[in-house]
């Protein structure tokens, strides 16, 4: 398993991944912001400002390390748990959260402009979209890759196989990024697979990388290598990032029904942010003040986001009718009139 920083924050192997100090700091800033935002969203949901929310706490390194390794021309295909990747990608959090507020469907932000596909709920379906986009990019001669997130549960779906096999056959520029966070709602890893997900790569004929998903530098390095490989025409890579879902599956879930606190404690000791902070402090890339600054900055940003999202009002009912087709057929316009009056 690729690991560059040990859980205790000490270097493990060579932590030189070719990032400048400001970039190394940016990774920490983003992780701190993401954590703060995630907790803020949990609070917003409890306050009734969001319908349901799927927290990613514990997976900050996996999401930010991978998203940070991408270029502007690349395209991300997320699931429903990639808010951290979204902010690393520069997505407006208020727009994004309209999905969880229940005022918009999966793509409230502009997917094309941001290179970030709509939030995708049906497991593994987005992996095929990534292969399709990658084929399109390849046909256009673009030096770009698609990165698709999925979990170990999604890896049980037939679509995950069709996507990987198609990407292999056409040597498509795709990075299949599996966040193996231990659980698929209430089903543990062993209920989904009898072998490490990463081993499947070889069966398709492309490389797989097993990486410590709570080590942001290792995740960055693995993703950067896979993306480079994809862009240079050598085809797909499967990355299995070993991490853990610290919180419930969503705010509707109660993990105490199905898992031990001990397991959670085990992973709490492997917190990705704590680890990276310790590392950066020890190598002197940040100091206590800088970290404190990130915390305050996150506090403010999240306050703004909260203010932004709570002020989002219900959309007009016309929204329902106006986007299903480029030009609503007459039968649909009639339904619109019945529902809203006028035309």
């Amino acid at each position: 398993m690729l690991q560059l920083i040990a859980p205790n924050g000490r270097p493990a192997g060579d932590p030189e991944v070719g990032l400048r100090d400001d970039q190394l700091r940016e990774l920490l800033r983003l992780m701190i912001l993401a954590r703060r935002l995630d907790r803020g969203c949990m609070a917003l949901q409890r306050a009734g400002e969001l319908t349901v929310y799927p927290p990613f706490e514990g997976q900050e390194a996996a999401q930010i390390g991978s998203a940070f390794a991408l270029a502007a021309e690349d395209f991300v295909f997320p699931t429903f748990r990639e808010l951290a990747a979204a902010i690393a990608r520069g997505i407006d959090a208020v727009e994004y959260l309209q999905y969880h507020r229940g005022t918009r469907h999966g793509g409230p932000y502009d997917p094309i402009a941001t290179g970030f596909a709509p939030i995708c709920v049906p497991l593994a379906t987005q992996l095929i979209h990534a292969a399709g986009w990658a084929m399109g990019a390849k046909l256009d001669g673009k030096e770009a890759c698609a990165l698709a997130y999925f979990g170990e549960g999604a890896a049980s779906e037939g679509d995950s196989h069709e996507a990987a096999n198609i990407a292999a056959v056409f040597e498509l520029p795709v990075v299949f990024f599996c966040q193996r966070n231990g659980w698929a709602i209430t089903v543990p890893l062993e209920g989904q697979t009898a072998a490490p997900i990463v081993r499947r790569a070889e069966g398709y004929g492309f490389p797989g990388i097993l990486v410590d998903g709570n080590d942001v530098l290792a995740v960055y390095a693995a993703t950067h290598a896979a993306a480079e490989r994809a862009r240079s025409g050598d085809g797909p890579t499967l990355i299995e990032a070993v991490t853990y879902r610290m919180g419930p599956h969503t705010t509707s879930d109660d993990p105490s029904r199905y898992r031990d606190e001990a397991e959670v404690e085990h992973w709490r000791a492997r917190d990705p942010i704590e680890r990276y902070r310790t590392f950066l402090l020890s190598v002197g890339v940040v100091d206590i003040e800088a970290v404190a600054g990130f915390e305050e900055d996150a506090e403010e940003r999240v306050a703004d986001i909260r203010a932004g999202i709570v002020s989002v009002t219900e959309p007009p009912a016309s929204d329902m009718f106006d986007f299903a087709f480029s030009e609503p057929p007459e039968t649909l316009r009639a339904q619109r009139r019945e529902a809203l009056g006028g035309d």
Binding site: T51, G102, S156, T193, S252, P315
Partner: protein, 333 residues
């Protein structure tokens, strides 16, 4: 002393009783075992009947549906769950291509006593793919039965009957009614699969619905009654087989009918009901049957759900329309 039972509890009891009475019954799906299901419908089953008879599967709906076929061939009686309406679609190929056709394919030599439970329809302010009405996909597929309960006690009865049925049954559970309660002792006695039920009497117009829309129709009938408009409400309960006889009997008396469902208008089940009425009760119609349904667009986000699902007002309005319009003489030959 009467006991009050929720639909979740009634469904849970139906599964407990089925598992206890028939050792060949198996219950499986995503998250149904260890944790007892997203909606607690399968709660406690694994503890009581063991991990062999009540188990979690990997996230693989084609796998879940396809395993039902193999298990049936091995002489088992699978009761599978698709976690949500919108996630039952990856299983459609196995359902359409095999579950619905297998018995026919072998001229009756391979019965498929399969029940597939699908928490369905809207009303829970759910995310995209969590509020779909999939009944048309299943009801149009020859070889399947499709049932939809509208109350806890009927949910118990229909689920027991579905599990006992020798043919495959798609059991659509109205999520919006999971916490609805009813007084009484769950029992299999009563109307069977294929029998509709009049749940409110009235002679001016028949409201035809199933699942969560039944109570809305009753509500609409109530408010109309205050205007002196007495409506009958028919709960279809079973879409396949369809109780055409009951539909016709009602329309004969009322001469008017309104069909209500959440699914989009085009080829929603209301189309079939309307066509049946046209075919079997045309001469008795005093006005055109009206469909009150979801719209021909993808199910909307939570905040527009109420604007999408048929409201009591829309239903009542439709009834008034049918009463306003009476068959013009011009049309008689």
């Amino acid at each position: 002393m009467v006991t009050e039972v929720s639909m979740v509890a009634a469904l849970n009891q139906a599964l407990v009783h089925a598992l206890a009475e028939d050792p060949r019954v198996l219950v499986f799906g995503e998250d149904v075992g260890r944790a007892g299901g997203i909606f607690h419908v399968t709660r406690g089953l694994q503890e009581e009947f063991g991990v062999e008879r009540v188990f979690d599967t990997p996230s693989a709906e084609a796998g879940i549906a396809g395993m039902c076929v193999g298990l049936a061939l091995a002489g088992w009686r699978p009761v599978a769950e698709m976690q949500f309406d919108g996630f039952s679609y990856p299983g459609l190929d196995q359902v359409i291509g095999h579950i619905a056709k297998y018995r026919n394919r072998t001229r009756g030599r391979t019965p498929m006593p399969i029940t597939i439970r699908i928490p369905s329809f809207g009303g829970l302010r759910g995310k995209e793919h969590h509020g779909e009405s999939p009944e048309t996909y299943y009801a149009h597929t020859a070889g399947l039965k499709v049932v939809v309960p509208s109350s806890p006690l009927d949910a118990y009865r229909l689920l027991r009957l579905s599990i006992a049925d020798p043919d495959p049954v798609i059991f659509l559970e109205p999520k919006a009614l999971y916490l609805a309660t009813e007084d009484g002792e769950p029992s299999v006695d009563g109307p069977g699969i294929g029998e509709a039920q009049v749940v409110r009497d009235g002679d001016l117009c028949t409201l035809i619905a199933y699942g969560a829309m039944v109570s809305r129709c009753v509500e609409a009938a109530g408010s109309l009654a205050s205007e002196g408009i007495e409506c009958r409400v028919l709960d279809l309960r079973s879409l396949v087989p369809l109780d055409v006889g009951a539909i016709v009997a009602c329309v004969r008396t009322t001469g008017r009918a309104v069909v209500v469902h959440e699914a989009p208008l085009t080829l929603g089940f209301g189309a079939e009901v309307t066509a049946r009425i046209m075919e079997e009760a045309f001469d008795d119609l005093k006005a055109a049957v009206v469909r009150v349904t979801g719209f021909d667009v993808p199910y909307p986000p939570a905040s527009l759900e109420d604007a999408y699902r048929p409201s009591v007002e829309r239903i009542a309005g439709a009834v008034r329309r049918t009463l306003g319009s009476t068959r013009s003489l011009s049309s008689s030959p």
